[in-house]
Point group: C2
Chain length 398, copies 2
Amino acid sequence: MIKYAILGYGVVGGGVAEVMEEQKQKIAALVGEPVELKYILVRHNYPGDRFADRMVMNFSIIENDPEVKIVAEVIGGASAAYDYTKRALLAGKSVVSSNKELVAMHGAELCDIARKKGVNYLFEGSVGGGIPILRPLTQCLAANRIDEVFGILNGTTNYILTAMDEQGRSFGDALKTAQELGYAEADPTADVEGIDACRKTAILADLSFGYNMDPTKIPTSGITRVTEADLELAHALGYTVKLLGRAVRTPGGCCAFVEPHLVPMTHLLASVGGVMNACVVRGSAVGEVMFYGPGAGKRPTASAVAGDIVDAAQHQAFRKDTDLGRSGGILAPADDLLCRWYVRSPDDPDLVQSAFPGAVPVYGSSQECGFITELMDRKTLASKLAAVEAGAAYRVLE
Amino acid sequence: MIKYAILGYGVVGGGVAEVMEEQKQKIAALVGEPVELKYILVRHNYPGDRFADRMVMNFSIIENDPEVKIVAEVIGGASAAYDYTKRALLAGKSVVSSNKELVAMHGAELCDIARKKGVNYLFEGSVGGGIPILRPLTQCLAANRIDEVFGILNGTTNYILTAMDEQGRSFGDALKTAQELGYAEADPTADVEGIDACRKTAILADLSFGYNMDPTKIPTSGITRVTEADLELAHALGYTVKLLGRAVRTPGGCCAFVEPHLVPMTHLLASVGGVMNACVVRGSAVGEVMFYGPGAGKRPTASAVAGDIVDAAQHQAFRKDTDLGRSGGILAPADDLLCRWYVRSPDDPDLVQSAFPGAVPVYGSSQECGFITELMDRKTLASKLAAVEAGAAYRVLE
């Protein structure tokens, strides 16, 4: 019998208890013994709840109970969650988590403690919700040099962009619907400004390249300035607009950024709609693979957290493959990365073509045109845009 | 230092040696010690080959060398590969393989030997080539009841169907191009008749439901009778045609089959084109996730096999999660599975609608019409088709 505790009884915490209970026979068979919930750390009582008898309000009870071998942290944020995770690891318990903020900010330190204590810190649910991404990336693709990882890592912004794309709606209008449907928070900043995607990008970059990536240093721009015209012009050019988090290997280092991109309609990522997430990995041996599914939600996220509990119960020794990079990496400037760019401009074709020879501007229902540049870095683009007014300039995914 | 051997030096065998060599530093860091190629079992000499000094022609040398801890079997087929795999496992070596035929036919027995000897039999590369599928399915989704697994499991047939779809070509014409491009064998039977997809479906069904699935009992039909008209009519109805291998949980058992399906254009699977593969998993907690990538080829398949070598080097004890089912399962008749059906018919709309009330036939450039039925089992469909001539009847993916 292996006993575990859940820290936090919000949506995901409730989902973890539920899923673990539903599959307890299967899990016992996989682990070789039952895996049982001993405590749930709560901030108030839940009278009548099926797990009410296991609820505690003091973390020390869990910390000091040697019977508890695994702790699932689903509190979120980087304050109490950080404190409890550290104390649980130091007490020799494995910790599993879906807390991207904590993993992105303090994951390397927490992995370091786990390594020293010979336990595990696992966080499959921190990127892509229920989609298996981190294990496939680090284990199945272990024999690859990872060259790039990128994806649609935030469902709220993908819902908004899909609604703008398919229904010709404005950002504000689509955001309002997302809020009504519960896909966006009342304060949507963390989603629409790309902060949530940035944390996940930091985790992916770290696992891919072995560097400790500081999420606050990752250039991040969200989708608040994407217009209906951008979607319309993108379509006319053979693309759609997606917010991508990207981590790219560069000579001697790596760069990471979160920006709206033009994705070719021929790339499978362009067909990922609504709140779904998808993550593409480019590896030296495998080429390109993609993982797709629900990036958030009670049961999908619980699926990932519960999968980590099962893993921690099966393999109690520290796993090197999900270790986060300890050394600070050479974070190359994303601006140096060559790409083609989409530009939206109110200027006439002659002016556009004098600055961007060979560009073929297309028009939609607005007065503005859209065109795709040659390969260039951001500085070159900026110098050319001195002569052409740009309403938007987004990278094109190659 | 952990030493391994490769059995077979064809395309995949060469790829495995190459990929392991390229990533030897990364792999040594992950495993904690170098993983070194000691032998390659060959049938003739390769003078001047970089690994010529490690080639042997007698399997007993590998079998009797206690230094060899891991054997990568990439011979293919179920005769010599079966014999060598058994002997390697009995000699206490872990075996990794991309041999779907062998895994589908004898996997349960080989897993049983591995379990008894406390070693591993791993076969990530046997389904989906380089795409991580089996580990995500069995490990990341461990806390799910798997309800269904289905996918595009054969690149040759997907290439042919994509060419028929996008270029309006006939099956024979598209097959010829596939052969010229090296995507199809001179004798394409195993691919176009669905036999290859059937083996992979058996492996997926076994891992998903825990039953030992006999591939020879899985109803299998390929794509040789799919016509240009089917693709055209499917499009007019909002679908495309894909060859799917499906393993479905039923009350008290499961069923599995390989058949051409109409896939809604709104499902991501419809956008999987060319030689690419994709596998969808429906789980009780996660909902639907999909894994996409190259399902064959030298380096993609080598990526999977090498990933298994790394895993076997890291975890030398038997893994329960990739164990194949031992008990023969209740293989429910696929014919009982309710679905809607696409029917192509030369009959006129009145006749069609008298047999299938509510059907809305569409027309393309041929004389035939296509329509979608209500939900029904195959027997009901067959009874209705007594009154309507059908050129084709394929399941619709729900």
